[in-house]
């Protein structure tokens, strides 16, 4: 009996741990290396400047980060939810264009938005000229200014998630509540808003992560946050241990925010039963003063979040276009595009493997472990960058010490470390939508292919990938945009001979050559805007 039980367990283990389990585990392990490095950094303890940080800086980092999160959260929710409600509920002039224009602030990285607005409001700047030199400019280089910049830059995350939810609430819900005498305003506060809260919090969570990830804007405004503090501890104080310790504290804070978010969303998850086009909201036609009001609510974020900064940057770039626009700029643009393009391809490929390998392994633990490898998006780029530098340093020293191999130049002078960091940070941008869309493919479709004698990879390429085509393309484009804009990771990990548009813009601004930062910024914005417009057109075609 004992023998048969043992045999049973051995057979079970053999069937549970197959080659797909091994492949999944290997990818997860590699992707979790930065997480392990952060944990090890915590165990290693603090460096010699920690007392100074704790005494004079830590409180400021914490309070500024909290103010930024709360302020940006409130302002971006107000902008995002109000514009989403107007677009989902009313029919007004140019609505079809405005609903996509509201996404455009995503094309301008927040640090570039910060440069543009400082120039716009400075003494003798555009704002001063518009007001006929009566204001002597406005000083926005404070925490309130930063909250304004981050909010108009990040509200599209809240707008996008709440718009989808408001649109899918359905005409039946509105009809049944209006029959009981509820007005549209009451409907918004008592029915629509509570039902949309989980989606709003989903968007807000992304806003919080972006606020914590921001380095360029906070540094330019001189606001000390956790992320600028991590950089400063590493570069100015030259204390990498304390820097990693700060990073680990930030990761703990993010995990807490994430837990609160999932707790809230878990308790308040509502599902919409009928999502057919006929069941979607019937929009109310509006005219006159009502239309003007709605147009103002919807156009104000586009004007402040896209048009004003773009015009300001265009004005500056005209000053230097003849001297700046040369072959080097072409090289810079190509560098950025190629790096973003090939890294996006790699991330899509790894995300597809992460979606399908656990399925093939049929091992439920692998599915659970996959969640750990996709947490990178919640960890600020600066944290990942510094941790990887430290971990690679140990790795290089270990190889040198044990095998007498000098591998440092290969690790630090190539793009491998940077691309791996991109992969860790952005894998969830591709993984989450691909995983969700794969669930919509009936399992019997790939199973039919297996039973027709086809292998798992053949089925993946001939059946599953074609069915996921639209999801793959949209994930690729979103990744491309994120990578083109990325600053802190690239700044820390890029080899000295590699330049991107984002880095060039930051370097000019950091040297107080703000007008020269305009041209790379404008090129970057134009590339991203083209992709956003393509994405909106593509999703319109696919929304059947």
């Amino acid at each position: 009996m004992a023998v048969s039980k043992t045999t049973y367990f051995i057979k079970k283990i053999k069937n549970t741990f197959n080659k797909w389990t091994l492949a999944t585990a290997s990818i997860i392990l590699v992707l979790c290396l930065p997480l392990l490095a952060i944990l090890l950094g915590l165990l290693k303890g603090v460096g010699n400047t920690w007392d100074h940080i704790q005494k004079y800086l830590l409180l400021e980092y914490i309070s500024n980060s909290i103010y930024l999160i709360i302020g940006t959260g409130i302002l971006s929710s107000l902008i995002g939810v109000s514009s989403a409600w107007c677009v989902a509920t009313y029919n007004f002039k140019f609505r079809a264009y405005i609903k996509w224009l509201l996404y455009l602030p995503l094309a301008i990285p927040s640090y570039i938005m910060a440069y543009a607005y400082v120039g716009f409001f400075e003494f003798e700047g555009t704002f001063d000229k518009i007001t006929l030199n009566t204001t002597s400019g406005l000083d926005i280089m404070n925490i309130w200014g930063l909250i304004f910049i981050l909010s108009i830059s990040l509200y599209p995350y809240v707008y996008g998630s709440s718009w989808v939810m408001f649109t899918s609430l359905g005409k039946k819900l509105w009809e049944s509540t209006s029959l009981s005498g509820i007005t549209q305003n009451n409907y918004f506060f008592s029915i629509a808003l509570p039902l949309t809260l989980p989606a709003i919090f989903g968007g807000l969570f992304l806003v919080f992560m972006e606020v914590l990830n921001d380095y360029g804007a906070a540094k330019y405004f001189g606001i000390n946050t956790f992320t600028t503090g991590i950089f400063r501890t590493w570069t100015a104080l030259e204390d990498i241990n304390s820097s990693i310790f700060l990073a680990a504290i930030l990761v703990v804070v993010i995990v807490i925010i994430q837990m609160i978010n999932s707790l809230f969303r878990g308790k308040k998850s509502y599902s919409i039963n009928d999502i057919s086009p006929n069941s979607q909201n019937v929009r109310k036609n509006i005219k006159g003063i009502h239309q003007l009001l709605v147009l103002t609510i919807c156009l104000l974020p586009v004007v402040t979040g896209f048009i004003i900064p773009l015009l300001q940057l265009l004005k500056w770039s005209m000053l230097h276009v003849s001297s700046q626009l040369d072959l080097f700029f072409l090289y810079l643009s190509l560098n950025s595009i190629l790096l973003a393009f090939f890294t996006s391809l790699l991330i899509i490929l790894v995300a597809l493997l992460l979606v399908f390998l656990p399925r093939w392994s049929k091992n439920t633990y692998m599915k659970f472990l996959t969640n750990f490898s996709t947490v990178g998006y919640s960890i600020p780029g600066a944290v990942i960058g510094i941790t990887l530098i430290a971990a690679s340093g140990y790795f290089v020293n270990y190889f040198d010490y044990i095998f007498n191999l000098k591998i440092g130049k290969y690790i630090f002078s190539g793009l491998a470390l940077l691309i791996f960091a991109y992969l860790f940070r952005f894998i969830s941008v591709a993984y989450n939508p691909l995983e969700a869309n794969t669930l919509r493919i009936s399992p019997s479709i790939p199973e039919s292919s297996y039973l027709l004698g086809k292998s798992k990879f053949f089925t993946l390429f001939k059946v599953e990938i074609p069915l996921l085509k639209s999801s793959i393309i949209s994930s690729f484009l979103i990744l491309f945009i994120d990578l083109m804009k990325e600053l802190p990771l690239t700044l820390i990990l890029k080899p000295y001979n590699i330049q991107t548009l984002a880095i060039k813009a930051f370097e000019y601004a950091d040297d107080e050559r703000i007008t020269e930062a305009a041209l790379p910024s404008v090129i970057l914005i134009l590339i991203i805007t083209t992709i956003i417009l393509f994405l909106s057109k593509y999703s319109k075609v696919k929304a059947y």
């Binding site: 057979k11 049929k362 009936s442 039973l451």
Partner: protein
Amino acid sequence: MELELVDISKTYNNNVCAIKSLNYTLDKSAICGIVGDSGCGKTTLLRIIAGLETPDNGIIKVNNNIVYDGWINVAPEKRQIGMVFQGNALFPHMTVKKNITFGLEKESLNSVNKLIELFSLEDKINRYPHELSSGQMQRVAIARTLAVQPKILLLDEPFSNLDLIAKSKLRTEIKKIAKILSITVFIVTHDIFDALDICDEIIFINNGELIETCNSSDVKNLSDIKLKSYLKNMTDQAKRFISIIE
């Protein structure tokens, strides 16, 4: 084609026992019906035979070759067993012709014309699955499975979404094809009249347990009390069947 199932058991992660120590041997090419109520383990049994589910215990042999025994686990794509799923699982992005030829190598593409003719699909070959009726989709799914010449054909509720005329046409076609190709066919159904009409042998399953096996011609002479009491608890159709045999 011989199929042997020895002591097959399957329990899902939520401790639901789908199959309990099931033993069964079919030693000839025949049409075998697997009859039972919804959730009794019929589909799980088909999926285990196909290799899509791994049993917790037991041995599966096809033509005396072990395809599963815990140590050996032949992959579904290598078992030469074809399965038509409930809801047919056609590839939505491929035409009828591409669906049917999906499993074939280039050199054997000509052989499908006979199948297309057999299932009267000549004028539908360039259509996509969503442009077909339920009966036509089911016929395409069966043709696609037969195109790769499986040793055993498994059909999971093939008549479930069909109207009476389409159902009757498909029954006739399956009988004809099984005879022409001398292939072993397993049909899962909850409708005992479908099984009586088309099958040579019927297996009755209740709560994952095989409770009776018999030839469809002998089913009226069944005296097994356990089977009768089980059938009494089955659907209205089964109750009608009980009243006929009693």
